[in-house]
Symmetry: C2
Subunit: 346 residues, 2 copies
């Protein structure tokens, strides 16, 4: 059963059937209802592939996931960001009549842009922890709109690229400021990998909050981490040996905060009575530690929602869209932070 058959049965031309299918409007009501009836009776559904070929529009958006070579974990979806992000993207896309086609490739894989070359999609979203700028530019050159969550690379502005990013500096500033307002002046900071822009920005935010409150940062308050649980553990051991345990610790991500929490427990220090801890990300686990971890929540779902919506606006030719939006992490106050103890002040 195809549009030709429907046309024949309804006594009209294929053009008219097309008009009815796509609700073009310029069809006589009687003709329209007749065609509709015939389609209904024959349980007819237009062939999406044929439609795509002739109309040059697929209503499919590619989700290009680039596997991280570093991580042995095969499971990108279990990632604190990718899972909720993909989830939101699919939901929102679906509500706007778009389907998602998933493609997984590795960094520097020459097949990354296959979906574009084959013309299987209308636009693409890149999900990756590595720098996708070159690939994105290539896709844009091919004539496509692209979307990306820019966690770390300061991607160039371009009229075809929709970008959502997080202001790490401001977010880290908020976290540090919060601790300072609780009365802490001796705040340990477990940094992220130093080569990453996000780590540098977070450090800047930490510094800014101190500067603003005119608190001098002791060099020994800084401990370089690599985003792993062990690093948080090591930081606490470092401060213990040094005999300079901070009254509050800010970790550049939740995993390290959890590591620090465990180390503190082991040393017999209570959280938050003896030491406050704040993390960054708002991983699910933070709700299951004891005490529950106070952290900075990165609004991944909002970012993903905004990304896909803006991208679709762009595809559909809307002109008044903001191509770039910057988000700030939000403080989620749980149980691991408290005002500095008065006894200490005495």
């Amino acid at each position: 059963m195809n549009s030709f058959e429907i046309a024949r049965l309804a006594g009209v031309s294929r053009s008219t059937v097309t008009r009815v299918i796509n609700n073009y409007g310029n069809v006589h009501p009687k003709t329209k209802s007749k065609v509709l009836k015939v389609m209904e009776e024959n349980n007819y559904r237009p062939n999406a592939t044929a439609k795509k070929l002739s109309s040059k529009k697929s209503n499919v958006i590619g989700l290009l996931v680039i596997k991280d070579m570093d991580k042995s974990s095969p499971s990108f979806l279990v990632d604190a960001f990718f899972g909720p992000m993909v989830d939101t993207i699919i939901h929102t896309a679906s509500s706007r009549g778009y389907r998602i086609m998933l493609d997984i490739t590795e960094e520097n894989d020459k097949n990354t842009l296959n979906l574009f070359h084959e013309k299987s999609i209308d636009a693409g979203i890149f999900l990756s922890w590595s720098n996708m700028q070159p690939k994105i530019k290539e896709a844009v050159k091919l004539g496509y709109h692209c979307g990306v969550i820019d966690f770390d690379f300061a991607i160039d502005r371009d009229d075809s690229i929709v970008i959502m990013d997080v202001c790490d500096k401001k977010s880290a500033y908020k976290a540090t400021k919060y601790l300072i307002e609780l009365g802490h002046e001796h705040i340990g900071f477990i940094t992220g990998i130093k080569s990453k822009r996000c780590s540098i920005e977070r450090l800047k935010g930490y510094e800014l909050a101190h500067l603003e409150s005119e608190i001098v940062i002791n060099e020994s308050n800084l401990f370089e981490g690599y985003f792993n649980e062990e690093d948080g553990y090591a930081a606490v051991e470092y401060w213990t040996e040094l005999g300079k345990m901070p009254s509050a610790i800010f970790a550049a991500n939740d995993k390290m905060a959890i590591g620090a929490l465990n180390a503190l427990h082991k040393k017999g220090l209570r959280v938050p009575e003896d030491v406050s801890i704040i993390g960054y990300d708002d991983v699910i686990l933070t709700q299951y530690t004891s005490p529950k971890l106070t952290t900075m929540k990165v609004p991944v779902s909002e970012m993903a929602d905004s990304l896909i919506n803006t991208l679709i606006d762009k595809i559909e030719g809307r002109e008044d869209v903001r191509l770039r939006k910057t988000f700030t992490a939000r403080l989620v106050e749980r149980e691991s932070t408290a005002p500095i103890r008065k006894i200490e002040k005495k």
Copy 2:
């Protein structure tokens, strides 16, 4: 740039270009290399949509996720099963040259089979906690192969349906047997929702292990749960009030085991010294509780891998494929279980 252009530039017919593209073999080596060269020079890539339309084969498999109406959570990917499952499916499909098209609908949504009706996919995999049997049958009637992970519904055998399931009875039997071998005779069981087949099966496994070891089950050892953390907590309170705390607890899922663990901590009972606990599922969280939770791991990735591979075999016309495979959960021994204390035996 299309196949016609390539044909012209290479001085051959479009048929020959098609033969080269698809590696049909019956092409003169010289002709082939010439065509290949022209394609290369022009950075030509066949249009996937056109190919699909003429060949009736898309190399796209639909992943039909059916949202659970019960759960308020928008995030199906964060689910302990769906995340790793989708992940594995995409990876394996990709390695075999298939793409995944994602579609999310709700239960009883009349659009669930759209991807089939539109002929956008070659086959479909259903991911759902509700009974998809009717929808699957409909898709089969439309001429498609389908795949499904059957956690609970005992889906009928059919030559077009690939089914992977878990033997809950055997898995629960293994868990219970393990506790019995540790010397426990007074084993509490927190059941799942009683209307679910998987809950009934798990109860049967629990009973079977007792029967085999000739241990009589005290009726008060059973506590009806609904798969939530609170239920595990309530179970422990129930046994406390009754004054009949089991020496070991088997919870029908990890969430309830965690609830029980928390309740035990609150009551001042030590795990595993006073009470052993074993869960079911192997959720990530089980590795972060203290003590770490012993549990029964459902091999989701293996199941998903087997599912997609078998489905593709079927699509490609292989005849010697096993359409149904049954898996058993595997014991993951961590820290929450121990032999019964000798003092208690005195």
